[in-house]
């Protein structure tokens, strides 16, 4: 099933090439020594690809070189660079041309990694497949767009590629183009300029999750939309939470001061109400129906939503106040 992945014309080497080639050799030695049964199904495929690569390596390089020479320009400033970085540069240019090309070398690297690390990760990968598929769609579009737009900017891009390649050796900023789907495990397509090892993928997924939730928070917290960037937003959110908490404290102080009135109201209120449960719809139904015998004649129709009801008897006033309070708190709020 991996035959379809390999098409010599479309090969584009990634910057992981050096490491991949080294690994290829290493692995070859390993596998020649070890028994095949040590690893699972992937090893025969590995071997196939290894052999294929060995034979085609020269062709590969030559083809890519020719590609690059066609591009011309930008390679000038770095004549003394080693083979590796130049391949990086070429890779970048080529990858821009061929948008969604297959890349067996990267698969190699990927598969090698998989075999080296334990297959216990496979289960995690399968779970991640959903996330990755979504990423796939995103990245596919991105790569297509990138390919279109950047075919116009060949010269500049190759320049920038070279400088980047010279300055940076880490995987993170490698101009890795699209990758092949690893049919057994997760289907991954890396975005431009992002690495594809498991950890960074996990990091990326996690970061996206967090940013999504930050957006949600942004909607809730007022005044958060103006500030951009996660740090600023988090600051705003923290301030908001702190202010809410101080508000609660302040209001409880006020309530403590209003203590006596509160007590009366509550006493009256709760001796009248039946046992309270937290069911929402029943609350409003219970209140009007309850007889107010103890309070004398309180006309229920008198209870309106305003808080400044004028009632004769003081006890009744507390009662209605608390009741109207309750009404307002449930009905009068605008939210």
């Amino acid at each position: 099933m991996l035959e379809g992945l390999v098409s010599p014309e479309n090969l584009s080497l990634s910057s992981m090439d050096m490491s991949v080639l080294e690994r290829l050799k290493w692995l070859r030695q390993q596998q020649q020594k070890q028994v095949v049964s040590q690893s699972s199904d992937n090893s025969p495929e590995l071997l196939q690809i290894l052999q294929f690569h060995e034979s085609n390596n020269d062709e590969l390089l030559q083809s890519t070189f020719s590609h690059f020479q066609m591009l011309g320009s930008g390679f000038g400033p770095n004549p003394n660079m080693g083979f590796g970085p130049s391949r990086e540069a070429m890779d970048g240019c080529i990858s821009r041309r061929s948008s969604l090309q297959m890349d067996p070398v990267d698969t190699m690297g990927f598969m090698l990694k998989n075999s080296e690390e334990n297959r216990t990760i496979s289960s995690k990968n399968k779970r991640k497949s959903e996330v990755k598929r979504r990423e796939e769609e995103k990245t596919e579009k991105k790569i297509k767009v990138a390919a279109e737009t950047e075919s116009n900017m060949k010269g500049k891009s190759s320049m920038s590629n070279n400088t980047e390649a010279s300055s940076d050796t880490s995987k993170e900023t490698s101009k890795g183009a699209s990758e092949i789907q690893k049919l057994d495990y997760i289907h991954v397509r890396s975005r431009r300029g992002q690495a594809t090892d498991r950890h960074s993928l996990a990091e990326r997924a996690r970061r996206e999750k967090i940013s999504k939730k930050m957006k949600y928070l942004q909607d809730i917290v007022p005044g958060c939309k103006k500030v951009t960037g996660q740090a600023g937003m988090l600051d705003e959110i923290i301030n908001y939470v702190q202010s809410l908490q101080t508000q609660v404290e302040f209001l409880s102080m006020k309530l403590a001061v209003l203590n006596s009135e509160l007590e009366l109201a509550l006493h009256a209120y709760f001796t009248n109400l039946p046992v309270v449960n937290a069911s929402k719809p029943s609350i409003m139904v219970d209140v009007p129906l309850f007889p107010l015998d103890q309070q004398g004649s309180l006309d229920l129709s008198v209870i309106n939503l305003s808080q400044t009801t004028s009632i004769e008897a003081p006890s009744a006033s507390w009662e209605t106040q608390s009741r109207s309070l309750f009404n307002t708190s449930s009905l009068g709020f605008h939210y």
Binding site: K124, R127, K128, V131, A202, E203, R206, R207, K209, I210, K212, K213, M214, Y216, L217, I220, V221, A231, L234, I237, I238, Y240, V241, Q242, L244, Q245, Q247, V248, E249, L251, S252, M253, K254, L255, A256, V257, L258, N259, S260, L262, E263, A265, L266, Y269, F270, V276, A278, K280, I283, M284, Q307, Q321, L325, F326, T328, S329, S330, G332, F333, Y335
Partner: protein, 157 residues
């Protein structure tokens, strides 16, 4: 981490529920004691504040939310009560910590601060923390409105 993206659910019950719980807790305070007794205002304030938080936690969904659970547990500790919570299905916190998923140092400083603010924030991963914060904020604002209304209603005219 690997689960599909569920829609973020931060539904908060309406104000009736909050009001009800709050008034209930206040009346409990009355019954317990000595509201009339010459306590210092500070103690009273603290009691009321605690009652407010506990009622908010209960109104907001009891033990279904991490922060409310932590709040209730904290309050119960102060009262030296033994509180039992229904077992959750998954024990996520241990696994998460071992994986040390929380990286990204810039973000984590702020997340630390948030963790200190939101009850129960210590045991959560950052993404979960965000959800809890959102719900917590909603409930807090509701509680503030309720209390404000109460205060306005009772203010001397």
């Amino acid at each position: 981490m690997a689960s599909a993206d569920k829609p973020i659910n931060t539904d908060v019950p309406e104000k009736d529920v909050f009001t009800l719980h709050f008034l209930q807790s206040l009346s409990n305070l009355r019954r317990q004691n000595t509201f009339n007794s010459p306590e210092k205002t500070n103690d009273r304030v603290k009691k009321i504040k605690k009652a407010a938080y506990v009622s908010m936690a209960r109104a907001a969904g009891g033990t279904n939310r991490l922060w409310s659970r932590a709040l209730l547990r904290r309050a119960a500790k102060e009262n030296s009560k033994v509180v039992r919570f229904p077992r959750r299905k998954k024990r996520v916190t241990c696994l998460r910590r071992r994986r040390s998923n929380r990286r990204d140092p810039v973000e984590e400083e702020e997340a630390e601060r948030l963790r200190n603010l939101v009850p129960g924030g210590g045991g959560m991963e950052t993404s979960k923390l965000m959800e809890e914060t959102a719900h917590y904020i909603k409930c807090l604002s509701m509680q503030v409105k309720v209390m404000q209304c109460l205060v306005d209603g009772l203010a001397p005219k």
